[in-house]
């Protein structure tokens, strides 16, 4: 028995909705018209929020902000596949996921405005705060999933990270624990082709991110991340699988970061206009709009209304965010431990 094949793996890519709005109906999720509209309206709300946040930053009204432009379908298609009881562990770029989950928009602005109270997640939303250290929070999702399994809760956890995040050791440990403990967790990589200035090809020599799942004994799949049907479908089936005891899945949403990395970045230093231009035609919202047109779900008046409604909601959120009172300096101490330490009590006296 000389050289034999003992294992093998195929990496698939799922695409359902084409750039010009045609869907492969044999694969498309069975959405009702009102669901399609809900998806579209949410996408617009996400984008409107995002654009406003960028403006607020430029005007010095909030701090550094990380845009989601171009990644709306990847964020909504995944979040939409979850139930309310399921848990989300986001990175720092999931502003759209927060919006999609019904998180108060003014609080997201408050957070990026430099006030931690904006990220005090309300009791009725199963979502973890933004995690800035890249690649580290997936472990929390796995641990929560292990706990859910232990408690026989039938909840699923889902965690987001970027292509850059896959290079951190914690990504590896999270994936490995998930495989070993068959944790009900879904890993969503928003592969937006860049980690600040580092292109995807320099992040890993693997052809895809999806194939990394093979190293941990579970399935990985790549989807067109600007195709909300493909994103949703892959996520839904991963969530169902996790919920029914089938263990973890890795989903690579192949998408693109249309903006600078954050408002502190200038992407023109390291990538070409042409590259960005080429992705404009792949826009996730445009694509859904074209689909709706073809399906007779579109009217320009509808589109206008959706835009205006989104704008009004965001306007209100901005107003609310800016009306929030400044935090008190003491606030910085009180959440360190359940109770103040003796030394902290003395330090409170400084204010």
């Amino acid at each position: 028995m000389p050289e034999t094949t003992i294992e093998s793996c195929e990496v698939k890519r799922l695409e359902i909705l084409s750039e010009n709005g045609d869907a492969d109906e044999s694969l498309a999720p069975k959405f009702t018209d009102s669901q399609i509209r809900e998806l579209y309206e949410t996408l617009v709300r996400m984008r409107t929020f995002d654009g406003r946040a960028l403006n607020l930053q430029r005007e010095g009204r909030i701090g550094t902000y990380a845009s989601i432009l171009g990644q709306e379908a990847a964020q909504l298609g995944t979040a939409y596949a979850l139930e309310k009881r399921d848990w989300i562990f986001p990175s720092f770029r999931e502003n759209g996921v927060f919006v999609a989950r019904g998180y108060e928009m003014y609080m997201i602005l408050q957070y990026w405005g430099g006030d931690e109270r904006g990220i005090k997640v309300p009791e009725d939303i199963n979502m973890f705060p933004i995690s800035i250290p890249v690649g580290t929070h997936m472990l929390h999702a796995v641990g929560a999933a292990m706990a859910a399994k232990y408690k026989e809760d039938k909840t699923v956890t889902l965690t987001y990270f970027g292509d850059g995040g896959t290079s951190e050791g914690d990504f590896h440990e999270a994936m490995n624990f998930a495989g070993v403990f068959q944790a009900p967790v879904v890993f969503i990589c928003e592969n937006n082709q860049w980690a600040i200035s580092v292109p995807r090809a320099r992040q890993t020599a693997a052809m895809t991110i999806a194939q990394k799942a093979f190293a941990y004994g579970f399935e990985g799949i790549q989807v067109d991340g600007n195709d909300i049907f493909a994103v949703y479908k892959a996520t839904k089936s991963a969530v169902d699988k996790a919920r029914s005891g089938g263990g973890p899945t890795l989903i690579e949403c192949h998408t693109y970061r249309m903006s600078d990395h954050t408002t502190a970045d200038d992407a023109s230093r390291y990538r070409t206009k042409e590259e960005v231009e080429a992705w404009k035609e792949k826009d996730p919202i445009l694509r859904l709009k074209r689909y709706m047109e073809k399906k007779g779900l579109w009217a320009d008046s509808y589109g206008k209304q959706v835009d205006e409604d989104a704008k009004a909601l965001v306007d209100e959120a901005v107003k609310k965010a800016e009306a929030v009172e400044k935090p008190k300096p003491q606030d910085m101490l009180v959440y360190t431990y359940k109770e103040l330490t003796p030394r902290q009590k003395k330090q409170m006296g400084d204010f």
Partner: protein, 320 residues
Amino acid sequence: MATMNMVHAINLALKEEMQRDKDVVILGEDVGRDGGVFRVTEGLLEQFGEARVMDTPLAESGIVGTAIGMAVYGLKPVAEIQFMGFIYPAADQIFNHAARIRSRSRGRYSVPMVIRTPYGVGIRSPEHHSESSEAHFCHMPGIKVVVPSSPYYAKGLLISAIRDPDPVIFLESTRLYRMIKEDVPEGEYTVPLGKARIVQEGGQVTVISWGSMLQKTIKAIEGVDAEVIDLMTLNPFDEEAIFNSVKKTGRAVVVYEAPKTGGFGAEISASIAEDAMLYLKGPIKRVTGYDAVLPLPKLEDYYMPSTERIRKAIDEVMQY
């Protein structure tokens, strides 16, 4: 009431807490089938099953990171790091996450987790098996650090640590594991976190230490009118007990086995120098490990603070 060593006392604390509260789970390398390399978790897999006593892959960040997720979800994980020298791969999870999640979420989430780990010089182990790096974790708001010095306190402190709403690093001296036997009650009792203990009252000099150094200290003070403080919780530490004692004695010696520079004893000295200075008669001496990489067994006895070195420092401060 039974007489037992620290391994058994800790094992008993774990067992009783697991019986009491089914949210208490254990995870780590070799904690299950093997019962831990020091046998601290022996018998727990058999009693509580694989779902509660989890042998994990060999990955410290993974152990602590998943434990954080479990804690946030409502469990009370007790994670084991096999030796303190191997805790660094988990440093990011401890410093950037465990310590900060309560603060980051303004109290919405918390991390009621314990990280147990054996520490300290004295059992002739290979490299990285004898470190005391408590200082790192004491310089991290949001983390508590506890170090018992005997079986009785080990059990009572561990129960408190498990019930504590915040993350606790629980350091177990390998040298003490089987060195002392003591009466340890069966059943529930707690020793509060954040409180030091006056091991012996005295009027002429205050000697502060913790863990395995406490035993050396007790030997070193023979014949001296010394007040001996077992700090027990290093973060947050019991300033008041220290200041009260120093006000009485006017002299202080701090003993720790980590490298001298930047060790946690520096904080104790600095605190005294800041808030109880006017009561001092002379310098505050530190008896510590050397500013060196901890040597392999052939030299470890030279590295570790000895009774003689502690005594010498006491004699020195007594001259003022």
